[in-house]
Amino acid sequence: MSEGFVELTVNGAPQALWAQESATLLQVLREILGLTGTKNGCETGHCGACTVWIDDVPRLACLTPVGSVAGSRITTVEGLGAWWEESHPSSHYHPVQTAFVEFGAVQCGFCTPGMLMAAAALLRDEPLPTEQEILERLAGHLCRCTGYEQIVRAIRQAALTEVKEL
């Protein structure tokens, strides 16, 4: 059998989906669940636009057959604000989201969801990363618009704001 029910928790909500088990998580998120925040840039692992968290680990949805992660917790860019709000009830957005807007780190916005998921995971692991650490984490994320400067600056700023508030 190559088709069946797959259970996932997506942005906190349990889901039981009828899907081909080899369909990619990217196809399932966008085409079945309508969560189009996660972008399809290349479908082959080369751009980072489809980055989501699978059990809190940033991974590429386009390289993940949905059957291979059955039972997992998925967080997409649509759920990032709510994930943050759980521990910071006063804010609806993750600080990297706010900083991306402030610093002009979004132009066409296609790479942004992937960048945000990678950046938020980095700040969770390393609250005050160096520029080098930021660049290393973003190694798999292509942006055709911004030239990366503003993106790196926004992530640095988000980190500094958070550390100040601690």
């Binding site: 059998m1 190559s2 088709e3 081909q20 088990e21 080899s22 369909a23 990619t24 479908e43 082959t44 692992g45 080369h46 980072g48 980055t51 680990v57 940033p58 991974r59 590429l60 386009c62 390289l63 993940t64 057959p65 059957g67 291979s68 990678a118 290393e136 984490r137 190694a139 798999g140």
Partner: protein
């Protein structure tokens, strides 16, 4: 048209072997090679056998003789985050860090990296691009675009960890229906780009065993974009200091369907002190030892020059390391 592949998750090694015995079935590690190949119609397996529920394949363990074993389905991330392995085998950790990107390393497995399918710029292309070409050997045809005079496929093994495991003297446990066997890492590769592994149908890698006394070693890689790209060429060199002599392994990767041991350079370096001239000469032997074809991103001349360059750079680094550890060069 997207193909639909069955995905199964057996919980014992025996069941894995049994399922692999079915036609068109393959091991699924992290899928970071299989899934893009499937998306582009290059992988047409009917069944993927995922190892995530097989205990032997998902553990890192230490035996009574002090040998570390890494299950083939352990992720690259888990090896890098292991409390002991990166410190004991920095050569391996450097090779793993050079693989792809953080997100891919979070998902990719070490067995998948060793068994990675070979690549070629005439084949690893979207279906619409390939429509313009008659099939080559690897696609079921009868010729090769990269090496028209060759009677077989010369697609490239781009694994970054394969040269590292060979240089370290790692052994692989091959699981098969009748019995399991251990092979040297270099014995995994046939040298033919189409059927590049020596595994018989139904056989798969269960674990990788590292030597109990880690040799000194270095890894280096040349790629176009440092952030993400596959290697145009990579090298791993190890030196195990012995009583009177030292054992050395120099392995070059990503220039052929399997890694290449550089015996002539090894001999040259064993003959005398590692002064500048000897390192230059040793690095230069690579130009005769490898015969890359025009199927990578860089041209043939560029890859040969890059190979010589990284070999020289790696030898210099190893000489410094040996100096610091008091091992005579």
């Amino acid at each position: 048209m997207t193909l639909h592949t069955r995905l199964v998750q057996p919980s014992t090694a025996e069941d894995v072997t049994r399922l692999l015995g079915e036609p068109e079935s393959k091991i699924f590690g992290g899928g970071t090679d299989l899934v893009p190949n499937r998306t582009w119609g290059l992988d047409t397996s009917g069944t993927w056998v995922q190892l995530r529920a097989v205990p032997e394949a998902t553990m890192i363990s230490l035996d009574e003789e002090g040998q570390w074993s890494i299950g083939a389905a352990v992720t690259l991330k888990a090896i890098l985050e292991h409390p002991k392995l990166p410190g004991l085998y920095p050569l391996l950790a450097d090779a793993i860090m050079a693989v792809a990107t953080p997100e891919i390393r979070n998902q990719a497995t070490i067995g998948g990296n060793l068994c990675l399918d070979t690549r070629c710029r005439f084949r690893n292309q979207p279906p619409i691009w390939r429509l313009g070409l008659e099939p080559c050997f690897k696609s079921g045809g009868s010729h090769c675009y990269a090496a028209p005079a060759s009677s077989q496929c010369v697609a490239i093994l781009s694994s970054d960890t394969a040269p590292a495991f060979i240089a370290l003297g790692a052994r692989l446990k091959v699981h098969s229906r009748s019995n399991s066997r251990w092979i040297e890492a270099l014995e995994l590769y046939t040298g033919d780009g189409d059927r590049h592994l020596t595994l018989a149908p139904g056989e798969w890698i269960e674990t990788i065993r590292l030597p109990s006394r880690p040799p000194l070693g270095v890894f280096d890689k040349w790629r176009i974009r440092k952030s993400i790209d596959f290697p145009e060429v990579n090298v791993a060199i190890s030196v195990a200091p012995g009583e009177n002599s030292r054992e050395m392994r120099m392995v070059l990767g990503a220039v052929a369907p399997g890694p290449i041991r550089l015996r002539e350079a090894e001999r040259l370096l064993a003959q005398g002190p590692w002064d500048q001239d000897r390192l230059v000469l040793a690095a230069h032997t690579v130009t005769g030892a490898i015969h890359p074809y025009d199927n990578g991103q860089m041209g043939v001349v560029g890859r040969k020059r890059a190979a010589e360059h990284i070999l020289y750079r790696a030898l210099g680094k190893l000489r410094n390391m040996m100096g610091e550890k008091g091992v005579s060069a």
